[in-house]
């Protein structure tokens, strides 16, 4: 069975060119980037090249990029780092975030609350965007940080980050944005965003899992998170994962060069898929479709079905997509994002996310346009709730 992978927001395959760039750093170029000898110098050079490549993707300077173990570490480091550095000696601290952040941000904020930091979770509109006036109203004298994601992982909706950056700058607050889902899909420029901190993940941009990066604008006080040796100026110790960092650098370079063309191509495919599903499936609705979105993502509610059942049925037929958020057992939990945009639980459970990527072809879209409508139809034909629902209307 040839499988179709429409879950690129979860992870992406390592690009062959990325893999090729990485391979020497597992064998001949195995040096520790901190070593003084030639082996170490060559590894150091590779890490610094990667830093420049990642910096170039987001319009930053290389010394503003810190490599991490991934997006989650970058988010944690940014949030705890800023709050701990800035709140030293202050009796009160306050952070503003949104209700639809990734768990790496939400749970970091909840952990801060346990430590006595106040957190405001901004609501979002039906289209998944925050209200800038609500943001302004949420700012208090003791506010230190605004952390709001660039693009949402479940719907692809893009927040008005430039305005948020401006509001933060005017209020003299630090602004962190989780750009894990936007980097490589839409332009990300830390200068245009006026971001002080920005998180990236390697495996969402065709680099391997286990590597990410945090942009920290020069001069931003951030308390370090890990303690150890002198790696990355002692600020983020731990022997560099040279091969993965090289991969992230190469992936960033490919993403930067291909961005415009791939965004147009994938966006075209996404639109065909989305329009096709809406045309072929009665009572299907796009979530967040009215907001600016990343070009690869569509989130659709198929009223009257269980998204979990549709997901499994499609996977058994070879089409991989996703729904909500998986808990540690792998079972599907109701999506906090879809709940936040106001979907009732049944509608949230009836929603699937299709996220396309570099490997997506027109043929795959055509195949999906066959099996998704027929499977939704089959599920509805045996769904007690859908029949009840239709007979009412």
């Amino acid at each position: 069975m040839n499988r179709i992978y429409f879950d690129h927001n979860a992870t992406t395959p390592v690009d062959p060119a990325v893999l090729e760039a990485m391979l020497p750093y597992f064998s001949t170029e195995f040096g520790n980037a901190s070593s003084i000898h030639t082996y170490g110098q060559r590894a150091r050079a590779a890490v610094e090249t990667a830093r420049e490549q990642v910096a170039a993707l987001i319009g930053a300077r290389a010394q503003e990029v810190v490599f991490t173990s991934g997006g989650t570490e970058a988010d944690n480091h940014a949030i705890f780092g800023v709050v701990r550095a800035a709140s030293a000696g202050r009796p009160r601290a306050h952070v503003v975030t949104s209700a639809i952040e990734h768990e790496a941000v939400l749970n970091s904020c909840q952990a801060l609350e346990q430590e006595g930091v106040a957190v405001t979770y901004l609501s979002v509109s039906r289209e998944g965007r925050i209200d800038l006036e609500e943001l302004v109203r949420a700012i208090r004298p003791e506010t230190l940080l605004i952390t709001i994601m660039h693009a949402n992982n479940e719907m692809g909706t893009v927040q008005p980050v430039e305005e948020i950056g401006r509001i933060a700058a005017e209020a003299d607050l630090y602004f962190h944005t989780d750009a894990v889902q936007s980097a490589g899909k839409i332009p990300v420029d830390v200068n245009a965003l006026q971001a002080d901190l920005l998180s990236l993940s390697g495996h969402k941009i065709y680099a391997p899992k286990g590597v990410g990066a945090l942009f920290i604008k020069s001069g931003t006080p951030v308390k370090q998170y890990l303690y150890g040796g002198h790696h990355q100026r002692g600020f983020r110790p731990g022997t560099e994962n040279v091969a993965a960092i090289v991969g992230m650098g190469k992936a960033a370079e490919i993403a930067r060069i291909a961005l415009r063309r791939e965004a147009a191509r994938i966006g075209g495919l996404r639109d065909i898929l989305e329009q096709g599903l809406l045309a072929r499936v009665p009572e299907a609705r796009v979530n967040g479709g009215g907001a600016p979105r990343t070009p690869n993502t569509t989130n659709i509610t198929f009223s009257g079905i269980e998204g979990e059942a549709l997901l499994i049925a499609l996977d058994l037929m070879g089409l991989a997509c996703s729904t909500g958020a998986a808990c540690s057992s792998g079972a599907v939990e109701p999506s906090h994002v879809l709940t936040a945009i106001g979907l009732p639980p049944a509608e949230a459970r009836a929603s699937l996310r299709f996220s396309l990527g570099r490997g997506t072809t027109e043929d795959q879209i055509r195949a999906a346009l066959e099996i998704v409508p027929s499977t939704v139809g089959r599920l509805r034909s045996i769904s007690p709730t859908y029949q009840k629902h239709s007979s009412r209307g």
């Binding site: 069975m1 040839n2 499988r3 179709i4 992978y5 395959p13 690009d15 062959p16 060119a17 490919i254 060069i257 291909a258 791939e262 079905i305 269980e306 979990e308 059942a309 549709l310 499994i312 049925a313 996977d315 058994l316 037929m317 070879g318 089409l319 808990c327 540690s328 057992s329 792998g330 079972a331 599907v332 939990e333 570099r358 490997g359 997506t360 072809t361 043929d363 795959q364 055509r366 195949a367 066959e370 099996i371 027929s374 089959r378 599920l379 045996i382 769904s383």
Partner: protein, 395 residues
């Protein structure tokens, strides 16, 4: 420039669901794992489903002890099921039925105890979760049948045209007592591959197939109740629901209504219980009845615990249609008596009895000899030989 990725290719996903696909309810234990392996060996395409039923985080106060491992809802068991599926190379998914389990099993379990009854959560879980939403899920994902690791048998009777539920060949493992609620429709699309095997044979088979769970110990307790301490669970659950149990004390009385002591709350007692009651006139006394209206525990001697007659409700007739019309002349419009054996709790040896259908989905069971501790909330299952004739909840 981007490089062509490996994963693109032809649009050849399967256009249809797989014919003959059987979903197997996998708990991560040796029984359901072996059941899945057997079906696969017989040549059926198999998909494993593990239900996420209860989140231990719901009642954090019960999590102090780490002995909440080896429970059917624990992550370890989910991973075990996944390892088995990987080992045998068939697809496996975890499906979330926390809401259904909470609504249909846990809440009724607590309510029944608070109403002075002694519930069987496993029967509710079978009838209302496994063979309802899980079976529906199986159908939705394209499976035609649902198999479980239960020790019981299903047979279609060519004469009556009905699906029959039979005891397992291994008497010591028989679980038909927990399956009496299955409808004809549910039985018609269910498989119990272990029904003809002994536990030892199942273990041997698991070892032969090198299943990663071949040596896993059995779980005997209720999966959602840590340490089997159901009283503690009920208190924690009630607190979490915002209705903490307090001041539920009441009187312990004899059958003549003489108050002989105080009880700590009727949910702490079950019919036939002796512990914590002391003695009367030098003889051991037992709980005879629980009276939720008066909040009383009625106690007495062992003799008074025995009764020949009981009534069941919510009766499900399996190997024959409800025989109400068999003899319209009988009083109350019930049926004539059918002879067989009845079992009134999991560890009860089926005893000779007759059953008569009553109107309103009820039935009357009359034992030849008095049976000890007939307990409201438990089930009575009526057998004709190995075949389950009917079952119902003891009133």
């Amino acid at each position: 420039m981007t490089t062509q990725l490996q994963l693109d290719s032809l649009p050849a996903v399967a256009a249809e669901t797989q014919p003959g696909l059987i979903a197997v309810a996998m708990s991560g234990g040796v029984d359901s794992s072996t059941a899945a392996a057997m079906l696969q060996q017989q040549g059926h395409p198999v998909v494993g489903l593990t239900m996420q039923l209860w989140n231990q985080r719901r009642l954090p106060e019960l999590q102090v002890s780490s002995s909440a491992q080896h429970r059917c809802c624990s992550l370890d068991d989910v991973y075990d099921a996944k390892r088995v599926a990987q080992h045998l190379n068939f697809p496996h998914y975890v499906v979330n039925f926390e809401e259904e389990f909470q609504e249909r099993v846990v809440r009724p379990f607590v309510r029944q105890y608070l109403a002075g009854r002694t519930p069987i959560a496993c029967t509710n879980c079978n009838t209302d979760v496994k063979f309802e939403p899980l079976l529906r899920m199986a159908r939705q994902i394209g499976a035609q049948r649902l198999a479980t690791g239960h020790y019981a048998r299903i047979r279609k009777n060519a004469n009556s045209g009905r699906y029959e539920l039979l005891r397992a060949l291994d008497d010591s493992k028989d679980q038909s007592y927990f399956l009496w609620g299955l409808t004809q429709e549910q039985l018609s699309c269910s498989d119990f591959p272990l029904g003809e095997l002994t536990k030892d044979e199942v273990r041997d088979l698991a070892r032969k197939l090198s299943l990663p769970v071949a040596e896993k110990p059995e779980s005997m307790e209720l999966c959602f109740v840590p340490n089997g301490n159901y009283v503690q669970f009920i208190h924690a659950y009630a607190r979490a629901e915002g209705q903490p149990l307090q001041d539920r004390e009441g009187e312990i009385v004899t059958q003549d209504g003489v108050v002989i002591g105080r009880h700590t709350g009727i949910h702490n007692y079950t019919i036939g219980q002796r512990k914590g009651l002391g003695f009367a006139a030098g003889k051991p006394i037992y709980v005879l009845a629980i009276d939720p209206q008066k909040n009383r525990i009625v106690v007495g001697e062992d003799d008074a615990l025995r009764t020949k007659l009981l009534e069941i409700e919510g009766v499900n007739w399996i190997s024959l249609a409800e025989p109400l019309d068999a003899s319209p002349s009988t009083p109350e419009g019930g049926s004539s008596a059918i002879r067989g054996h009845a079992k009134i709790r999991h560890k009860h040896e089926p005893a000779p009895a007759t059953i008569e259908a009553l109107p309103g989905g009820r039935a009357r069971i009359s034992f030849e000899t008095p049976q000890r501790a007939v307990t409201p909330g438990q089930a009575a299952v009526f057998y004709d030989g190995d075949t389950v004739l009917a079952g119902g909840w003891i009133r």
